[in-house]
Amino acid sequence: MNFDLSKGLEWAYKDMLTFFPENVSTFGAQLDSMFALIYWFSVGTFFLTYGLLVIFMIKYRYNENRKAYYFHGNNLIEFTWTLLPTIFFVGLGLWSDGAWTKTKYASRVPKPDVEIDVMGYQSGFGWEFRYAGPDGVFGNKDREQITISNPFGIDSNDIHGKDDFVIISPGGARPIPIHLPVNKNILVNLSSNDVLHSFFLPNFRVKQDALPGQWIKVWFNGSKIGTYELACAELCGTGHYNMRGQVFIDSQADYDKWLDEQYKITKPVLEAPVSSDTTIVASVDTKDSKTTKN
């Protein structure tokens, strides 16, 4: 039962804004500065209102020789302190909207350099990633063909799907990392086959629920090479806490090399029958989905 009080009190003596994990996405800085602006507004309001509260409590504490001021209020004052916050808050809302549309509107997703499909899964709790393979084109998805070993429902009739490979990463301490190139627009098509999950990349300021039955576009652009953690932020069952993933942001050359390796590593796996409890790098193509479909 060790406990380090000085670390336990960090919230009291360190600025709240220093607790953010390092930001490595292009739009993250804008979101952080918006947070900071609201934070400083809150600090100001806090000291204003608490100042008045404390001053009034001290100055007007009970004294039996004094009588309180008989005053019911004043419409002009009410009007003023209605109007000012209204202007401020509506302004804040309109100002916020720019960053919101930029990060979330499907119509404003920038032209992707790399596109991957991602799903959270509940059976053992982890993430499934699908890369387009050497041809760079995804095969069609067919929800009728979804099985355990073909979680994305890659259409067995589509030639583009033949080289698609899938990484099934278990959660926990040793997930299978995925790699993505630095300074590139990454588009994630997000969904789920079971329950809700939420794709949370703290360092990229990205969070989006994965919704079964729907593909949602999530984009980001990582600006710094390194290893970052992926988390699930929506309760998805007993193992929700364990849905840890890992994302490597690589230089383009390293990324290309990794992509090639992955394709080769997963190739032998393609031939082997895939068991339902696959937790290593597994790959699925049309043959697999056919053999395991029933």
Binding site: I38, Q208, P212
Partner: protein, 621 residues
């Protein structure tokens, strides 16, 4: 309108006679204390049951906190006596942890805050403060209470399933909810029942306020507590049926294999971690080949819309009565009229109206069309305005007052202090792009506890200290009251303020073991600090219980009007019996005529006839 009032008065007087008849024949113990139709007894019943659940919910919270501070280590004292399907080696299992967080939220919201704020104060205050003998529909009132204990038992009984109770969070999102076993059913049924309890209560409050006000009392002469409860009743009656409908739909998804919330082709996991399908659920534990879900064509997000369409207004259901209580307590102890009486009422109305237009801010990251995010962001941010108005008016109320620091007033002031922080942290989430990062983190947990514990519960404490003398005829100990306040207020802030920081650090909610994430490992000491503070906070609440029992036995007998307040309940006898008032109640003025110039005493009860040569006061400037 005039005839309606006259009719109501007829009914009123008829009821009075009826009540008087009963008073003559001694009521049996059961009719007097158990199946009572007296609104004051029902209020006490709500209080007892909800305070019991407060400790149950608090115990759940402390078990959650222990796991976050020292994952996998045995819970002190109770860890080794809990059943083995809840704990392993004295530490909570992941499955039990998820049940605990689900039940903590459910119990605190549906079995503590709503029954205390609405059930207890609604029942106790409304008839007394509008000067009538009882609720408009006393038997409905009794029924609304008597749904609560069985609903609570059903909720807690879920723990005794082998697979445990509901574990889909207090929000019960599908597809996790309907596929997570029988515990979810007890949860749904129990919420359905308590929802009906709420609806019956709300209907009754509306009928009572509109029909049973004392002679001379206009709507704009009602104290803010009654206004808060009245608007709350409207919210309940409009919102709760939607929850009831959503619950029915989830039950149908679970048992009739409808597809309201279930999309096509789901692969769902059963508690034993095997892929199963709806067919599996349909055919009763007969594990089929990996086939796709049979039900379907539905939308998981539909549940979220329906759930939050109720549960966002429910936040106001929990806070509006508190705002009313605080307004009355502050004005009474500042010996000063409430600042901006009508503005306060219009602010409550504005909050209630806007409260129905903002539910989507819980769903910014849900996959809802982001265009709606823009809409809900604007409506949400506008709701900050009436909240700000209320804060300014409370500050205006104590300005140039003559403030008495009773336990009731200290809790009311604490309400303002914590509501400011809870309101400000709400602005972060209202801004949709800022919410992307903090959504589903401890920042949200901090916010909701600042609003519901710091806000609603401190207001409830304030109300308990304020009205206890009228409820039980005994004064609560001010000394113990202050102790309870100081310990609660300090350790409340030490518990929940650091959670904002945890949230900024990225700490997700509902995480059994945060420290498998490297970026969360540095936050462990703060989690431990929060846990220690929470333990002290939890035990501080025992002071309130001790105070209640001690004062019931040894407390000073309460005078009729111990706080020298103006509202009608203080014109009733010190410990009013069935029927409430021993005099005819006529209302001459508004409830906040404190420190009126030219009067000897600094208060002016609503019932005191004006002196001969006095210019009548127009209430509600």
């Amino acid at each position: 309108m005039q005839t309606a009032v006259a009719n109501a008065n007829d009914i009123h007087s008829h009821d009075t006679h009826h009540g008087a008849d009963h008073a003559h024949h001694e009521l049996s113990f059961i009719r007097k204390y158990i199946f009572s139709t007296d609104h004051k007894v029902i209020a006490k019943q709500f209080m007892v049951v909800s305070l019991f659940f407060l400790f149950v919910g608090g115990l759940f919270a402390l078990m959650i906190r222990w796991q976050l501070a020292y994952p996998g280590s045995a819970i002190p004292l109770i860890g080794n006596i809990l059943p083995t399907n809840w704990v392993s080696d004295g530490a909570v299992t992941a499955n039990f942890y998820t049940q605990l967080l689900t039940l903590h939220g459910t119990v605190m919201i549906f079995y503590v805050i709503i029954p205390l704020a609405v059930g207890m104060f609604g029942n106790f205050c409304i008839p007394l403060m509008i000067g009538t003998d009882d609720m408009a529909l006393p038997r409905l009132n009794m029924f609304s209470f008597w749904l609560v204990p069985p609903a609570g038992l059903i909720l807690l009984s879920g723990f005794f399933y082998d697979s445990g109770t509901a574990a889909a969070g207090w929000t019960g999102y599908p597809p996790l909810g309907p596929t997570s076993g029988p515990g979810q059913t007890t949860w749904l049924v129990s919420l359905f029942m308590i929802g009906f309890s709420s609806i019956m209560g709300g209907t009754n409050y509306m009928a009572t306020v509109l029909n049973k006000r004392a002679k001379g009392m206009q709507l704009f002469q009602m104290p803010l507590t009654v206004w808060g409860l009245f608007i709350t009743a409207i919210l309940i009656v409009l919102g709760t049926p939607v929850l009831a409908a959503a619950i029915s739909m989830q039950l149908c998804d679970q048992y009739l294999h409808t597809g309201f919330f279930m999309p096509d082709n789901l692969l769902v996991t059963a508690p034993d971690n095997t892929y199963v399908t709806n067919a599996f659920i349909a055919q009763g534990n007969q594990l089929l080949e990996h086939k796709q879900l049979l039900g379907g064509g539905g939308q998981p997000i539909l549940w979220q819309h329906l759930f939050w369409f109720y549960s966002h207004p429910a936040v106001y259901i929990m806070i509006l009565p508190g705002m009313g209580i605080v307004s009355d307590v502050l004005s009474t102890f500042a010996r000063k009229p409430l600042f901006g009486y009508k503005a306060m009422i219009f602010a409550i109305m504005a909050i209630a109206f806007l409260g129905f237009l903002v539910w989507g801010h819980h769903m910014f990251q849900s996959g809802m069309n982001p265009l709606l995010g823009t809409t809900f962001m604007l409506s949400t941010i506008v709701i900050a305005v009436p909240s700000a108005i209320k804060i300014f008016n409370w500050l205006g109320t104590i300005w140039k007052g003559n403030i008495r620091f009773t336990a009731a007033n200290m809790n009311a002031l604490a309400f303002i202090a914590t509501f400011i922080i809870g309101g400000l942290s709400g602005v972060f989430m209202a801004s949709a792009p800022v919410d992307i990062y903090i959504h589903d983190t401890y920042f949200i947990v901090a916010h909701i506890h600042y609003v519901l514990f710091g806000g609603a519960l401190f207001a409830i404490f304030s109300g308990i200290y304020y009205w206890f003398p009228k409820m039980y005829g005994k004064m609560l100990s001010e000394n113990l009251g202050r102790k309870h306040f100081y310990w609660s207020f300090i350790f409340f802030n030490l518990t929940f303020y650091p959670m904002h920081i945890l949230g900024v650090g990225g700490h997700m909610r509902r995480i059994y073991n945060p420290y498998i994430y490297e970026f969360l490992q540095p936050l462990q000491p703060m989690n431990q600090f929060v846990t220690f503070a929470a333990i002290v906070l939890g035990f501080s609440q025992l002071i309130l219980i001790v105070n209640i029992f001690w004062s019931l036995k040894y407390g000073k007998a309460a005078p009729r009007n111990p706080w020298q307040a103006n509202t009608l309940e203080w014109s009733a006898p010190a410990h009013p019996g069935h029927g409430n008032f021993d005099t005819d109640i006529v209302v001459y003025r508004g409830p906040y005529e404190f420190s009126v110039p030219g009067r000897d005493s600094d208060f002016y009860p609503q019932t005191e006839p004006p002196s001969e040569n006095e210019v009548p006061i127009h209430s509600g400037h």
